[in-house]
Symmetry: C2
Subunit: 334 residues, 2 copies
DNA sequence: GGCCCTATCTGCAACGATGGATTCGAACGT
DNA sequence: ACGTTCGAATCCATCGTTGCAGATAGGGCC
């Protein structure tokens, strides 16, 4: 049915191995022979069977990418960047959605599906460092951005704490003193929520503003989570003059709820987010946020993973410099 | 290095084939034997090598999905749905971004990468039916939603024309008479732009409103495309009392530009879109749009493709009923 | 001229699984 | 009692490539 190397070899009057050599750019082939093989390939419409190649060579040229859900804009945009970066280096990306559930994350780390990839990019949300190390197989693994550090794991970090502090400082500079935080729990330590909350507190402390736990509202990191949390906050009667969503979706949900309730943004209440997804630029009012260096993270993570795959030396996790972040001041918090 | 079936067989004291039989749930195996094999698998941490299985069985259990770019919310949400539908049926999805370029689409249809998948889901944007038929290989192929019909191809359609007509009719019912259209070219016929434009014209005609080509503004189907087009429209001095973005991104870009320019939405100018992406619900004002039945499309397309893969009969493209659409009336065009 | 080297091409054996035929008893029917 | 059937496990070939080791033939060197 399918055309194989054997068919090409027969058509070109050479051995199967020579066809293989041509395809793999083996150095010592007479130009005439090479041309004959290429012609035969063309004529028969031969295509390499990547499955067979993988089995024999032990490489799949695919990277796994585990994230919560593609319908979340930040992950979708990050996935897009990662796919482009991988593609440019001759790798494809197999995406797996964990739905933010520990079971799925664990399954993705161990699962059969790993035998289809040469390495894994992982955005952990439910698992902590210990669990990841326990569950991880022996193939290269690079963690992305959203996590606490651990010297035993390779990871590409964003400046969660510093960037969150920058946002908070910006809000403080605008005269805000009662800044609500959406998406964290008072006491969170690990994970991006913990780190961003820490940044918030550090900025408050630096400005001599007292930290008030009643301003910290836990919720899902999604638009409706942000809207609900804001509604609860308004209903509870807690006073606040700014909202910091720990990601843009939260901030946009909050923004929506505030406007629905007739609050003026930013005059009465300022709103800021974290991520700088494309949508934020076009919100009304446009959303002040911080860009964590998404493109850079994607590039670095892919680069690091491929390096681990291709060089056999299992070097211990090198401390990567963190990606540069950039505050984007827009209308919602000028 | 990796544990193979052979190792398991040795450990369990059975033949390699018996291990294979256990894994594939072969009916006639003594419970005791089965248990011994399972124990051995567990103990050795054996994992099936999917590459080898694919080579031998000729099936990869992967579906290809070609779309323009995951950073576009509609595609990201669709991809998410598709992956879930495929997953539920035991298939994985390998996403490929075409960037909306004919070359890339063609490459995706023919490329080596197809040897990694059992079939392809394809959202064509740059290629027309002829080109697709010419480029397509012999593996199953199902086209998604955004395209004109062709009896030679399998496809799952959305009601482009009807849904666009419904949006237009809604705007007309609100008293709007000068409805600008973003994202089409006067004269477009094929593709979703053509079909949606046709729906718009049909609705105008039904209401006895004259069609004015100066209200039709071509642009990229992205937020900034919509914003730019709106800016041009405003600058040109053409009068209009509503904007219909042929997708939500366009409408959201338009909404943003209108608000920046101080126009009242919806009092002065109503805005409506097409797709009902999650973001639209949370825009301010929230966006009136039409949901084309995304979940249904995803489900149907996956189902159809898998059916084609698993039943060898190459039945000619059955005319699928189109997915049901639903108008979502919100603040931007009440 | 004999020897080694280099360029060019070939053959064999894997990679790790599955399909199909086959073997070997034990149970069954008459 | 003996052929038949059926459950349970085994054996062999095979999927389409690539790695590694040959094989062959000119050419240059001494």
């Amino acid at each position: 049915m399918a055309v194989t190397m054997n068919d090409v070899a027969r058509a070109a009057g050479v051995s199967l191995k020579t066809v293989s050599n041509v395809i793999n750019n083996y150095e010592f082939i007479r130009p005439a022979t090479k041309q004959r093989v290429l012609d035969a390939i063309d004529e028969l419409g031969y295509e390499t069977n990547l499955t067979a190649r993988s089995l024999r060579s032990g490489k799949t040229s695919m990277l796994g990418l585990v994230l919560a859900d593609l319908s979340i804009p930040y992950y979708a945009e990050l996935a897009s960047d990662i796919m482009k970066a991988a593609w440019a280096r001759g790798y494809r990306v197999l995406v797996e959605q964990s739905g933010n559930e520990a079971e799925h994350e664990k399954a993705a780390l161990q699962g059969q599906f790993r035998s289809l990839t040469d390495g894994l990019l992982f955005i952990p949300l439910a698992l902590d460092a210990e669990q990841i190390i326990a569950a991880a197989g022996k193939k290269p693994l690079v963690l992305l951005g959203e996590f606490v550090q651990d010297p035993r794991l390779d990871m590409v970090l964003i400046q969660n704490q510093e960037a969150a502090a920058a946002v908070t400082t910006h809000l403080l500079a605008g005269g805000r003193r009662r800044i609500a935080v959406l998406g964290a729990h008072d006491g969170d330590e690990a994970g991006s929520n913990g780190l961003r909350l820490r940044g918030y507190r550090a900025a408050l402390a630096a400005a001599g503003v007292e930290y008030d736990p009643t301003l910290v509202v836990p919720c899902d990191w999604r638009r409706d989570g942000g809207a609900d949390a804001t509604a609860r906050l308004l209903d509870s009667g807690v006073e606040f003059d700014a909202v910091f969503g720990l990601n843009d979706a939260l901030a946009l949900g909050a923004l929506h709820e505030l406007l629905v309730r007739g609050r003026n943004v930013p005059e009465e209440i300022a709103v800021a987010g974290f991520d700088d997804i494309d949508e934020s630029r076009f919100a009304s009012p446009s959303l002040t946020t911080v860009a964590p260096g998404r493109a850079e993270i994607a590039e670095r993570a892919v680069e690091l993973l491929i390096q681990r795959i291709e060089s056999k030396d299992a070097a211990p996790a090198v401390q990567q410099p963190k990606a540069a972040f950039e505050l984007r001041v827009r209308q919602s918090a000028p």
